[in-house]
Every structure is written in structure tokens, then in C-alpha cells.
């Protein structure tokens, strides 16, 4: 049923208007025309349509300007639109220009650039924000309006789409026009642009008078609690429309669709409520207690609102004026801050939905839920994420951007997710009151919201999730040297610098010197290791083996070679590994002279009692080496002690310095305190 583009208006491109658009535009035009034009009116009939510049056919500049302002587009956009539609060129707002302008307004409100091309596509109807009083005033004589409307098509000078449109309009007029556009928007998807049309449309239908000259002020009454507005001579349809326009915004909150409160922006949603409660907890663990004034002040100051505004918000929310915020008061204050950050003006009085009693009634069991919150308070923002991501309007969240540490925005996916939760919370705010927020304002305000919510959520997260510093990573010491104790390997190399690496070996029973004979070393070291029982058998076995093979020197070498290698593999000998090969020779030499001595003993002992003799023999041989090892150990000990002493001294000196600095600081603070009463005043 779209009106086909006609031959083209002389002053504008062919215009495709849908049925709804036609109705809307014609009504708007009629209103503007009727409002402005004194003489024209319904009286001028079709013949006058032929006039090139029918004065009656022009929408008066005043009402048109008001209407455009009511669209809440920025002034430059409106200028652009005015230029584009041709009104400037022809000097007046004819129907053509008017319709084009309306379509451009719709385009601009949809976010499309203001160009002629934009209006060629299907667009939602433009939104205009009217005051309630307008609706009441205008709700009157539809017939008059119809009359005007009838006139309109004939006023169009050029053949264009409007003719057909008007015919359709006439047909529609007979129906119940009030209801048709109103019916659709409230159920429309979360695209709140549609809904205000219903409001505006209904008002247009009801009006024949001049448009309210102060569309901006209309925002205020809409934001106000229903109390003052109910004082108006309440004709029900305007109220219905008003409630519709308010309820549309709450599409996302089903509980508010049928609410009687017109102050949707002041209604706290579930997610918001949870978020506020979490924030409350982060400040004050007990949800039934208060947040002191100074704590709340520090917290709210992070919102980067001005102090007077914060002061006023406090004034509104602290109902009992006790300088502390209970949970409902805190939620109210937080909500007001959030709303303010989103660009809503602060109300004159605390809205009923934010009052303590209401909040306590609406969310009756914060205390009981607190246990739950405790458990997943930190994950709450995370929980919100999946829901929010679906419906996130990123723009709306940007309002929160100013909350502390914008740098936090930069980082991780976590924060993106968090932002989305905040987006969600704030998107509701924005969507709740599109009627009161200018598009441009909300668009501008939105970029700020992201970091606010994200950072505040992050704060909550961080407060709860202070990751404990990991325990100090143990250094490369082998706490349990099974077979190879690197400490013993490295210890002689770095005795002083790595005093912390002091291996337990010094505490061990005498350890054979690494320069000892290989197998003896092996054996003794093994015995000296922490697992002497496990070593001893090896020791004994090994020793036995070695001893049994000691006789042939030739075998010694391979044994020694083997021993050192084995020692290298298994023993914790300090110098075994690096010196596995070279020491073998001297060891061999050492070993040889000892061999006969040990051999005899060994053989004898081997025959006798391998275990006991083994322990005795290696002791005898070991003692010489153990003394060397002891010396090494002792030097290491000494060096470590020196290092310890040095560090201890350093520590004490630093402590002393710290104390001095502390005292200085205290002194300075005292001075500051003394000076303060004078300076601050």
C-alpha cells in the first residue's frame, strides 16, 4: 500500500511513504499548518491546492521548529534537514518539504546520515517528544484535524505520492486511528524509536492547536513522578498514551509494562539491583547495616560527577538525613548517579520508585539473599554477562565510562564482558526513558558508561578476588635429593651469593669429599645422603663389588671410571660431575695406595661382615676426605654467615631509616593539621 513515487516533486525527490508514515506526516503537517496559519485552515479547498505557494499549505515556521526540536536531534542536524528538504530554498515548509523533513528526521533518529538517499529506504516513523499537556490540550477535535488533512493532498502543487496517500488517509480516518499506531509499538522489539511515535501520533491526532513550544521542558514532566502529572486535567487517552510511551521503554522489564509509574528511568531493575547490592557489599559486608558518609562519599566521587550534583543526589537519597546510607538508600543513590551519568536530569524529589519503603517492598529480601550474594557476588557480573551480551547496547554503557581508572577499559576480555553487564544495566536505564533522553545526548553519554560499570564491577571483582601472592617459588634447591643433589654440585661455586641455597648437606653427617676415591666417595656420599638406609645397602653392595674388584688395578680404572660416572649420575658429590673424569686419575692414585690398605681390610672385612666392616673401612678412609670436606663446608658456612651478617646489618639500617622517615612523615602531618583550619577556610 505504499504510495508510489510520483512524477517527483519539483522541490524534492520522489518520496516513498508507508501508510503509517503518510498518516503521521499528514497529521503533523496539519497540526503545524493549523497551528501557524491563521487564514488557511480547512476552509481552503482543493482549488487552492493549485496555488504555487498556498499559504495555508505551509506549515508555519514556529510550530515546525518546535516539532523539529521535539525530535531531539541536535541543532545542526535540524539545520541540515531543513536545508535538504528544500524549505530553505523555497522559503517555506510546504507539504513536500515537510514530509521530506520528517523523513529525514526519522533517518537521523535511526542513526542514518542526513541525506536525501537516506529517506529512500524504509524508515521508522520519526519520534517527537511532546508534553502531556499538549496531548491534553490537543485532544479535542479530530474532525477538525481530518478536515485539515483532507485539505492537504490538494495543497500539494506537484503531482506526487501524497495524493494517493491522502486518499488512504481519508479512508483510515474513518477507522479508529488512535489505536492502530498505538497498538503496534509497545510490542515492538527493543527499538524504542518506534514507540514514541505512538505517543506523538496520538497527540497529533488530538490536537488542533499550536504545538507546545517547549518540547524540552516536556521531558521534565515525563521524568517526574506521576504525582504532578496526574494533577493535569487528566483525559484518559493522553494518559494512556503517556503511559504507553513510558511503558514501551520498559519493554525489557516485563514487570514494568503495566506499571502505573511514569518514572521508568527511576525504576531499578533486577540486574541493577543486584549490581547495587554487590557494590554495597563491597563497601559494607553487612547488608543490613549502613555505609558511612565518608565511605560513600569516596565511592560516589569516583563517578566523576560534580560535587554539587553528588551532594544533591545524597540529599535525595538519604531520606533520614543521618549521614549514612542503608541498602535501599544506597541503591537509590547509585541509581540516581547512574541515571545522571546517562544524561537524565536529576529529579526535584526522590521518585517513589526509589524511596526506601518502595525499594524494600519491591526487593524484599536483600538480607536473605545476602548469603547467596556472598557466594557468587563476584561472579554476579559474570553471570550477568551472558544475558547482557544479548541485549547489550554498547552505546548506553558508555555513560559509565567515567568511573575510575579508564585505563582499565583497555584490557581484557573479562572487562569487555563486564562492560557488557554494565551495558545491560545501563541500557535499561536508557531504554527506560528514551522519552526523556535526547538521541544525541544518549549517544554522547553512552560512550562514557562503559568504563564506569566495568570499572566498578571490576572493583567489586578485585576486592573480592585479591589473588594471594603465590608462595615464594622454591629456588633451585633440591629439597629432596634423591640421588643427585645439585646443591652439592653448585655449592662450592656459589657459597656466598646464594646463601639461601645453602643446601641441607652441611647438616648432614659428614659427607665424603668429592675428591675421594670414587667408589669410596660414592659409597660414603651415599651414606652421607639423606637416605642412608637406602644408600647403605648400595653402599655396602657397591663397596663390596668394588672391593671385590679392587685387586686388579686394571679393573680399578674402569671401576673408577664407572664409579665416577656412577657418582656423577647418582651421588651428590660436589665436584663429581664436573670433575668426573679428571679426578679419576688422582683418585686412582689415591685409591691405589689406599687400595692395598683397604683391600686387605676390605677383603678381610668383605669376608667377615660386609656391612659393619664396610662402615668401618670407609670411615677410616673417609675421615681423611671428610676433613677436607668439612673444611669446605666450614668455609661455606663462614661465608654464608658473613653474608648473613652483612644483610642483617643492612636490614637494620634500612629499618632505622624507615623509622626516621615515618617520624618525619608524622611530623609533617601534624604540621599540616595545625595549618589546616587556617588554610582551608
Amino acid at each position: 500500500m505504499e504510495a508510489a513515487a510520483g512524477g517527483g516533486c519539483g522541490s524534492g525527490p520522489p518520496l516513498l511513504l508507508s501508510e503509517g508514515e503518510q498518516q503521521c506526516y499528514s497529521e503533523l503537517f496539519a497540526r503545524c499548518a493549523a497551528a501557524g496559519a491563521a487564514g488557511g485552515g480547512p476552509g481552503s479547498g482543493p482549488p487552492e491546492a493549485a496555488r504555487a505557494v498556498p499559504s495555508a499549505a505551509t506549515a508555519a515556521a514556529g510550530p515546525v521548529a518546535d516539532l523539529f526540536r521535539a525530535s531531539q536531534l541536535p541543532a545542526e542536524t535540524l539545520h541540515q534537514i531543513t536545508e535538504l528538504c528544500g524549505a530553505k530554498r523555497v522559503g517555506y515548509f510546504g507539504p513536500t518539504q515537510f514530509y521530506i523533513a520528517l523523513k529525514l528526521i526519522a533517518a537521523a533518529q535511526s542513526g542514518l546520515p542526513v541525506r536525501i538517499e537516506s529517506i529512500k529506504c524504509e524508515l521508522p516513523l520519526p519520534r517527537f517528544l511532546m508534553s502531556k499537556t499538549d496531548a491534553e490540550i490537543r485532544f479535542g477535535n479530530p474532525t477538525e484535524l481530518h478536515g485539515t488533512k483532507v485539505q492537504i493532498p490538494y495543497l500539494i502543487t506537484e503531482k506526487n505520492t501524497f495524493k494517493r496517500m491522502d486518499d488512504e488517509d481519508k479512508q483510515q480516518e474513518t477507522q479508529s486511528p488512535t489505536m492502530s499506531p498505538l497498538a503496534s509499538p509497545p510490542s515492538s522489539p527493543p527499538h524504542y524509536q518506534r514507540v514514541p511515535l505512538s505517543h506523538a501520533y496520538g497527540k497529533l491526532r488530538s490536537n488542533t492547536e499550536q504545538m507546545h513550544p517547549a518540547p524540552y521542558e516536556a521531558r521534565q514532566p515525563l521524568v517526574q513522578p506521576e504525582g504532578p502529572s496526574s494533577g493535569a486535567p487528566g483525559t484518559k487517552p493522553p494518559r494512556h498514551q503517556a503511559s504507553l510511551i513510558r511503558s514501551f521503554s520498559v519493554e525489557r522489564e516485563p514487570q514494568d509494562n503495566n506499571s502505573n509509574y511514569p518514572d521508568e528511568p527511576w525504576r531499578i531493575t533486577e540486574e541493577q539491583r543486584e549490581y547495587y547490592v554487590n557494590q554495597f557489599r563491597s563497601l559494607q559486608p553487612d547488608p543490613s547495616s549502613f555505609i558511612s558518609g565518608s565511605v560513600a562519599k569516596n565511592f560516589f566521587t569516583k563517578s566523576k560527577l560534580s560535587i554539587p550534583e553528588l551532594s544533591y543526589i545524597w540529599e535525595l537519597s538519604d531520606a533520614d538525613c543521618d549521614g549514612a546510607l542503608t541498602l535501599p538508600e544506597f541503591c537509590a543513590a547509585f541509581h540516581l548517579i547512574v541515571a545522571r551519568k546517562n544524561g537524565y536530569p536529576l529529579p526535584e524529589g526522590l521518585p517513589p520508585t526509589l524511596q526506601t519503603e518502595y525499594l524494600q517492598a519491591a526487593f524484599p529480601k536483600p538480607k536473605r539473599e545476602c548469603a547467596l550474594f556472598d557466594s557468587y557476588s563476584e561472579s554476579m557480573p559474570a553471570n550477568q554477562q551472558p544475558r547482557d551480551l544479548n541485549r547489550m547496547e554498547k552505546l548506553s554503557v558508555k555513560d559509565m565510562a567515567d568511573f575510575p581508572v579508564p585505563t582499565q577499559d583497555v584490557t581484557s576480555d573479562d572487562k569487555q564482558g563486564l562492560k557488557s553487564t554494565a551495558d545491560e544495566a545501563l541500557a535499561k536505564d536508557v531504554s527506560e526513558d528514551p522519552a526523556t533522553s535526547k538521541d544525541s545526548n544518549s549517544l554522547k553519554a553512552r560512550p562514557r558508561s562503559r568504563s564506569y560499570s566495568s570499572t566498578s564491577i571490576e572493583e567489586a571483582m578485585k576486592r573480592g578476588e585479591d589473588p594471594p601472592t603465590p608462595p615464594p617459588r622454591p629456588q633451585k634447591t633440591h629439597s629432596r635429593a634423591s640421588s643427585l643433589d645439585l646443591n652439592k654440585v653448585f655449592q662450592p661455586n656459589v657459597p656466598a651469593t646464594k646463601s639461601g641455597l645453602l643446601p641441607p648437606p652441611p647438616a648432614l653427617p659428614p659427607r665424603p669429599c668429592p675428591s675421594q676415591i670414587s667408589h669410596l666417595r660414592v659409597n660414603s656420599k651415599r651414606s652421607a645422603q639423606r637416605r642412608p638406609p637406602t644408600q647403605l645397602p648400595n653402599y655396602g653392595d657397591f663397596r663390596l663389588q668394588k672391593q671385590s674388584e679392587q685387586a686388579p688395578e686394571a679393573e680399578i680404572h674402569p671401576q673408577l671410571n664407572r664409579a665416577p660416572s656412577q657418582a656423577a649420575e647418582s651421588s651428590p658429590a660436589k665436584k663429581d660431575i664436573p670433575y668426573s673424569q679428571p679426578p679419576s686419575k688422582p683418585i686412582r692414585r689415591k685409591f691405589r695406595p689406599e687400595n692395598p690398605a683397604t683391600e686387605n681390610q676390605d677383603t678381610s672385612t668383605a669376608v667377615g661382615g660386609p656391612a659393619s666392616a664396610a662402615t668401618v673401612k670407609p670411615h677410616a678412609a673417609v675421615q681423611k676426605q671428610s676433613s677436607k670436606q668439612k673444611k669446605a663446608i666450614q668455609t661455606a658456612i663462614r661465608k654464608n654467615k658473613e653474608a648473613n651478617a652483612v644483610l642483617a646489618r643492612l636490614n637494620s639500617e634500612l629499618q632505622q631509616q624507615l623509622k626516621e622517615v615515618h617520624q618525619e612523615r608524622i611530623a609533617l602531618e601534624n604540621q599540616l593539621e595545625q595549618l589546616r583550619p587556617v588554610t582551608v577556610l
Binding site: 558518609g293 565518608s294 562519599k297 560516589f300 553528588l310 540529599e315 583550619p677 587556617v678 582551608v680 577556610l681
Partner: protein, 169 residues
Amino acid sequence: MRVRSCDSLVLVVRVLRGRVLVVCAHGADPRHLSCRHPFLQNYPLYIRSAPTENELKFHYMVHTSLDVVDEKISAMGKALVDQRELYLGLLYPTEDYKVYGYVTNSKVKFVMVVDSSNTALRDNEIRSMFRKLHNSYTDVMCNPFYNPGDRIQSRAFDSMVTSMMIQVC
């Protein structure tokens, strides 16, 4: 943290031909500040006047009345400080105006200038007005965003004063 007990609030209410002037001024405890910043004493925290002409005259009047207030306070002596009545009563009458004073325990001074022609105002009414002012002032002080010594910008306070002035005239 030291409490700044040196502040004082001076409120002047001038009732003249059906209109009211209300002035609040801030004063300082001379014990704390006299030697250093005498100008910081007794500066106004809040000034309100219903008819806006000749406001300066009333500001001057208020300022001079502060001396009377101080005198009355000091006249009580230290022993009676705790029992000192907050309401000071008529500070001094001029031919046109009456000046009433009220001091809180934190040395916040309220001064009210009332037109003499307004004979309907009784002493009790003045007292109640001061009491309301005091209550509103404490509410203002409870606001953590309000720093003692700042000018009072609380809307609740404003509305209270407005209602009071309207009521009087």
C-alpha cells in the same frame, strides 16, 4: 581529625512589607583563627533575601549583629557554656528592624532580620523558625559531600527557607 568547630552560620530573615530577607553567614571561632586570618571569621554560608533591593544594607546589618552575638556568647562565661540557650533572642532593635540571633553549640550563628512593622511575629514563632533552620542545617551537615565552611547549596535547605519566608510574610 580536628573538628572545625569554628564555623558559624548567620541567617538573616528580613520581613518587610510582606517580603522576607534571609541571610546566613559563616563565622569562625576567634580562638582558632583570630591571630591568623581574621577575615575568615564570620563569613556567610547562606544568604537569602526576599525583596532583593537594598540587600547590601541588610548584609551589613547582619555583619554588625555578629558582634552582638559574640558579645552575648562571651557574656555567658565559660561555666555556662553548656547550658547556654541556643536562642539568643532579640539582639538589638533598630527603628525599622529587629534582629534575632541564634547560635548553635558549634558556633554557627543564625541571624534573622525582621521588619518591625511585622508585629505578627511572636517570639515563639521566631524560635520555631530558628529551630527549623537548625534542623535543616544539621541535615546539610550530614551530607558527606558538604564540607563545613562551604556555601550551603542544598536544595532542601533552600526550600525550607523559602517556605519559611513565605510563611512569615
